[in-house]
């Protein structure tokens, strides 16, 4: 049964994910068209959070495959448990079984190690499969992924073809470190995740740090939005905002305008490189503060 868009939207907020208006539609569409969803956006905009929220919406298990350069089928799909296989071969050596029987035995389910992709298609309840930072994997892996995403079956030479028991909901994320293939893009729905606007970011702060002052949360969100507009090398993400908000709350700051010192000193929660730090001087910080507060 597919959920309506409104239900998804409601459940997202129930799960603590403050959604922008369109992401609920994208998630609904994913369900409706049975297509994977590709999320792109800068680092730190909360792409991975979407997957967690989606799992909560459907009360499904979240299976995550983190991609990296050199990721191959053995790490992503399945692997044989060689140590046990060797052991099994040794223990059967004396029994006089023929080679075929041994082969059959050691290439059975017992010796198969499930990796995320295989796990995702063998669950009874469709899980949410998050393929994180797919742009970090090699092109070859992408091609393999494409095959899996269109057929939802895997052939293991020693075992035969394994069909999906249930079709997982697939989310892919990309930071754009490499151009993804057209074929993969075509296969997927697309959603560009942007930094949250001030209002949404303030609501995120309030949701994550319930004790915080509403006024302060808005001020922080505005300040972060202003900082993001500066020409920085590393633009602070939502996680950084939350760190900063928690720090300020911990320091008992109630109004950013009153305590520019504290603002400047805690800025390292937002600014993570020396270069940006040098750029965001006390004067710049105060100018921004003057604008937002």
């Amino acid at each position: 049964m597919t959920l309506t868009r409104e239900t998804i939207s409601d459940r997202l907020s129930a799960a603590g994910y403050i959604a922008d208006r369109d992401i609920a539609t994208a998630l609904w569409l994913m369900e409706f068209l049975k297509r994977p969803l590709l999320l792109e956006g800068e680092a730190g905009v909360g792409k991975t959070e979407v997957a967690k929220a989606l799992a909560a919406v459907h009360e499904a298990e979240l299976i995550r495959l983190q991609c990296y350069e050199g990721l191959d089928q053995h790490a992503a799909l399945y692997e044989w448990n060689y140590q046990r296989q060797l052991l099994a071969i040794k223990t059967r050596e004396g029994t006089g079984e023929n080679a075929d029987a041994i082969e059959e035995h050691i290439f059975s389910e017992r010796y198969l190690l499930e990796r995320p992709l295989l796990a995702a298609i063998r669950r009874q309840q469709p899980p949410v499969l998050l393929i994180d930072e797919v742009d970090r994997a090699d092109e070859e892996f992408e091609a393999f992924l494409l095959e899996l995403l269109s057929d939802f079956q895997v052939s293991i030479p020693e075992l035969g073809t394994i069909r999906a028991v249930s079709i997982p909901r697939v989310l892919l994320t990309s930071n754009g470190t490499r151009e993804l293939s057209d074929a993969l893009r075509r296969r997927c729905l697309y959603h560009y995740v942007d930094f949250p606007d001030v209002d949404r970011e303030a609501r995120i702060i309030l949701a994550r740090l319930p004790g915080i002052d509403t006024g302060l949360a808005v001020q922080i969100a505005r300040m972060v939005a202003a900082v993001r507009k500066e020409d920085l090398r590393k633009i602070p993400g939502v996680a950084e905002t939350l760190d900063w908000a928690a720090t300020l709350a911990g320091l008992q700051v109630h109004d950013l305008r009153q305590e520019p010192e504290a603002v400047h000193e805690t800025m390292m929660c937002l600014i993570k490189t020396h270069e940006d730090r040098a750029r965001l001087t006390r004067e710049v910080a105060e100018r921004l503060l003057g604008k937002v507060a």
Binding site: D22, A26, L29, E69, L86, T177, R186, C188
Partner: protein, 393 residues
């Protein structure tokens, strides 16, 4: 395209389906890659509950039709322009009563027959141009081609052939570099247990026939940034040919041309016909006589292209005389950023070939600390001398 409405005409009516097909075509004209599958899915969306409100229909279609961030940014504008003029509401209610739908279908058919050309061509030209122009801003646009300088008098066929052959040779010598990914080989550093066991089942599991893994070789990627400013104009024509050879010979190569700003020209250079490819780089004409802003151009590159194009096995080749009209500090900072990203920076400077030249230009001074190889490039011989170095990268 015509097939899609015919496949599934019932739920929403043929006219709406046709409008959708037109919309898909408009998007395609704007550089979207949309296939039959997408159109069919869009019909399904139009027949579903989200189609009742524009606020939910737009994001749904956007997620479906967009494939890249640049699509994403263009979509809203095209959507608004298309459906607002076409009458969004009409499209939705068409499926309502069978009679009206049928009559409208007839109307649509007749109007189409009489008008001959699909009207969207004329109507959306302006939108297409606006959006297309924006998308192309980073590339060599056709508008710039018109003012192309006549570079043909330098197209001595022998020179071209030699430049291309040299580029191909350089490409061959530097295309290999080790990556982390391993592959199975007869000889290697590590035992591949998986294959070894599989191969030796017939020996009762005693590993006799061993399989090894070895690191795989992957081609080097080359990004060339060519200075096409006035001070370089004696050389640009030749280097454009070289650039063409590089783009042709490397599996992964990207080419940029800059003077006061940066243009991504790989696409124009992929033309097999050298003369035409060079002519298409009309942009260069604008550079001649203008100043060079190497720092700004590099900043543009670092900001918009570097992340996508540069990885740990990328060599960046800058061809420039280093006469920068911008601030040297900026150039230095951008060079440092670039250096952190890529594997090697090679700076080819045609002036080195001149006698008694020393890199005095302030821009050159600022950039030098980040350059791995600073080499002359005033003739084919000097380029050929690069080969042993490139092979070692």
């Amino acid at each position: 395209m015509v097939a899609a409405p015919r496949d599934n005409p019932d739920p929403i009516g043929a006219a709406a389906a046709r409008q959708l097909a037109d919309f898909a075509r408009t998007l395609r004209d704007n550089g979207f890659r949309i296939g039959l599958g997408e159109t069919r899915d869009a019909l399904a969306i139009l027949a579903s509950s989200v189609a009742t409100r524009t606020s939910s229909l737009k994001p749904a279609l956007r997620s479906l039709f967009c494939a890249t961030h640049s699509d994403w940014e263009k979509f809203d504008e095209i959507f608004e322009a298309f459906w607002r003029r076409r009458g969004m509401r009409r499209a939705q209610t068409l499926g309502g009563t069978a009679e009206s739908a049928a009559s409208r279908r007839r109307n649509a058919a007749t109007s189409r027959a009489t008008s001959g050309l699909p009207d969207h061509v004329k109507r959306f030209e302006d939108i297409g141009d606006a959006a297309g122009g924006r998308g192309r801003r980073e590339g060599a646009s056709s508008a710039e081609n018109i003012v192309a300088a006549d570079l043909r008098h330098i197209t001595d066929p022998d020179d071209i052939a030699r430049a291309n052959a040299l580029a191909a040779r350089l490409a061959r010598s530097m295309r290999a570099r080790l990556v982390r990914r391993e592959q199975v080989r007869r000889r290697g550093r590590r035992l591949d247990l998986r294959r070894t066991i599989h191969r030796n089942v017939s020996h009762g599991g005693t590993p006799i026939d061993l399989a090894w893994r070895r690191r795989k070789i992957k081609p080097l990627r080359l990004v060339v940034l060519l200075d096409a400013s006035g001070s370089m104009n004696l050389y640009t024509a030749f280097f454009v040919r070289f650039l063409h050879g590089v783009v042709d010979a490397f599996r992964e190569a990207e080419a940029f041309v800059f003077h006061t700003r940066l243009a991504h020209v790989s696409a124009s250079l992929r033309d097999r016909d050298v003369t035409r490819a060079v002519d298409r780089l009309g942009l260069m004409a604008q550079g001649i006589g203008g100043g060079t802003r190497i720092g700004d151009s590099l900043a543009t590159f670092n900001r918009w292209h570097a992340r996508r194009l540069i990885n740990s096995r990328t060599a960046v080749m800058i061809v420039s005389d280093g006469y920068d009209t911008g601030e040297p500090e900026r150039l230095g900072a951008e060079m440092r950023r670039l250096r952190q990203r890529c594997r090697r920076i090679i700076w080819l400077n045609p002036l080195i070939g001149w006698r008694d030249y020393s890199p005095q230009a302030r821009g050159m001074q600022a950039a030098l600390p980040y350059v791995d190889l600073f080499a002359p490039a005033h003739n084919l011989e000097s380029l050929a001398a690069l080969e042993p170095y490139l092979a070692r990268i």
